[in-house]
Amino acid sequence: MHDAILAEQAGIMATAIITDRFVTTAQVIAQVSGMPGHPFAVIPHPISNNSDAVLQEKAADAVQQCARILLAR
């Protein structure tokens, strides 16, 4: 999350993919960085032991969420 915030502060539109266990942490990072409510995509934790099939599912979910975040409302 911090890297996405740094990119934004450098003028590059950015978002992050966070696992659900760390949603609160990501929100706090955004808030203390002066960007409360900065949106991000959430996927189920963990990913480290996922099969490729599961990773593909999570990738599809993440792409959809990121597209929604990056595109104009």
């Binding site: 915030i5 992050a16 996927i43 990056l70």
Partner: protein, 93 residues
């Protein structure tokens, strides 16, 4: 005798992503994917790259990588993002 009081409200319009302008479409765009080096992030981003190209018409995907996930993204990697329309950083866990 006057009274000074505080505004109780919060701007409830949709959250804005920093100072950047949103895109109207991903087609033809350059998207950066930042890998923080943790296990399985690369294959996850491989899938996402494929989907961004095939489903959203993204023209270029720039793959970026941090060597130390415990530190913020270093300046050279940030600089490499400058050509991107948007960056997705993965995975915060």
């Amino acid at each position: 005798m006057s009274v000074r009081v505080l505004d109780p409200t919060v701007d409830t319009s949709p959250a804005k992503a920093g100072a950047t302008t949103k895109l109207t479409s991903l087609a033809g765009r350059t998207i950066g994917l930042l890998d923080n080096g943790k296990i399985n992030v690369r294959p996850l981003l491989d899938h996402m790259e494929r989907m961004l190209r095939s489903q959203y018409g993204v023209r270029d995907v720039v793959r970026l990588r941090k060597l130390d996930f415990s530190r913020p993204v270093p300046a050279p990697v940030l600089a490499a993002m400058q050509g991107c329309d948007a960056v997705i950083s993965a995975v915060g866990d």
